[in-house]
Symmetry: C2
Subunit: 269 residues, 2 copies
Amino acid sequence: MENLNYDVWILTVGNELLIGRVVNTNASQLGKMLTLMGFRVSRIIVVPDDIEEIVEEVRRATGRVRLLVTTGGLGPTYDDLTLEAIARALNRQLKVNPEAEAMIREFYSRRGMPMTRERLKMAVMPEGAMALKNPIGAAPGCVVEEGGTIIISLPGVPEEMEAMFKSEAAKILERIAPQISIVECSLTIKGVPESTIAPAIESTAKKHPEVYVKSHPKGFELGAPVLDVRALASDVDRGSAEAAALEALAYIKQEVVRLGGSTDEARCG
Amino acid sequence: MENLNYDVWILTVGNELLIGRVVNTNASQLGKMLTLMGFRVSRIIVVPDDIEEIVEEVRRATGRVRLLVTTGGLGPTYDDLTLEAIARALNRQLKVNPEAEAMIREFYSRRGMPMTRERLKMAVMPEGAMALKNPIGAAPGCVVEEGGTIIISLPGVPEEMEAMFKSEAAKILERIAPQISIVECSLTIKGVPESTIAPAIESTAKKHPEVYVKSHPKGFELGAPVLDVRALASDVDRGSAEAAALEALAYIKQEVVRLGGSTDEARCG
C-alpha cells in the first residue's frame, strides 16, 4: 500500500447543509474524533445530493488521502446517492450487499415491518464493500478501499453517525491511526490586543514548528481586550506533546507581561 | 463575461474548523443568505491555514463558478494567508491597498493605537482588489474578479462576517443575483416511517423537478414516527414558487392519509 500519511478528508453530502438549513455539526464532530485519533483532517467538503458532484470529490480524494469519511446519502429516498456515486467514482458495480441486507431485514422485522424496494436500496453497495452495522437506525454504513484510500460512509443523522463511528468505524481506524497523543494547552490573555501580540505568536510558532499556536479574540472585559491563545502539539509521548505546547505558551506569557497585559495559568487537556 | 450561472462556492479557511474546535456556522449562515438571494450554493470547502491548499481551491473555483466567498484568514497573524493565497492563485502581485490602509488607520487611531507592521499586513491585497469596510473589527474585506468569477473575502469572526456581508457584500451581490424568489413550505407527518413515504416523495419530486422535496426524521411521539417534509421552490414570481411547493406537498399529504398517517397544514416561509 502507498504511504498516504494520515490525511483525512471529510465529505458531507446534502443540500440542506448548502442552503444553511442545517449546521454541519457532523463535520466538526468527525473532525474532533479523527484529530484525537492522530489523523490530520485537511479538508471538509460539502456537496449537493448530485451524483456527478459527489463522484468528482470522491475521485479527487482517492489515492490522495489515507482516509475519506462521508456522511449522508445512505437512506431510502431517491436523492440518497452516496454509495452509487462511490461505485461510479471507483468504476465498481453496484450490488446488494448480503450483510447489509441481513442488517436491514433484522431492523424492520423486529419492528414487524416488511422489506420493500426502498428499504432494500439501502443494502446496495459498491462491489467489495464491507457493511457497517447501524446501532440506531436502518441504513448500514459502508467501507471500501481503493488506491490506498479507505472510504468509510456513515449516515447523515448525527446520532447515527456518531454511534456508528464509535462502535464500528473506530475499530477499523485504530488499526491505521498513528500511535500519537494530541494535547491542547490554552492561556487567557487580558489587556493586549491580538495585533500587538501577533509578533510574539509568530516567533513562537516559528521556533516551535511542531506546535500549532493560534489566538482567538474573546471580546472585551472592562474595556480591556481578552484573547485565548491555544497551542496544539502531538507526539508519540503524551508528556512530550504537553511540554512542547507549554513551552510555546511560556514565551507568549512572558511577552504579554512585558507588554503590560496579564495572563492566567496555562491549562492542558 | 462568461455565463457561469449563479453557482457559488463557499471557502472557509481555518484549522480550528478542521479539528472540530469550532462549528462552521459561517458556512451555514452564508449558505442561507446566498440561497435567499437566489444563488445556488454548490460547494462548501474547509481548508487548513496552508497557502498551497487555499491556492488549490481558489484555482479550482476561478472560471468555474460565478462567485467564491471566502471567510477567515484576513487577520494580522502569520497564519492569516487568504489574500496571499488568492494573489498567488490568480498570478497577481500583493500590494498595500490604499483604501484598506485608510480603513485600518482610522480603526486604530480612533482607539489611540499606532499603525504597526502586523496591522498594515491586513491592507496587503491582490493587485486590482477593492477593499470592503469592516463595520465591527479591524480587518477589511476584499473583492477581486477573474475569469468571470467574483471572489469576495470576508473575516472569520462570525459577527464581522455577517455585518460585512449585509452592509458591503450584499450591495455587490444584488447586482449579479438572479431576480427570483425562493419559498420553502413544510409539512409535519405523524405515523408513517420515512422509508414508507419515500416512494411518494420520489414520485412528487419527479413530477415537480423544479421543487426540491426532502424528508427529515424528527424522532418519535407516543411511539409513532414524526417526519418533516420540506419543499423548496424558486420562481421570478413569489406566488408561483409557493404554489409549486404546495402542490408538491399536497400529493404527499394525500399519500400519508392513504397510508394511515396524519399531517398538519403546510406552512410556507
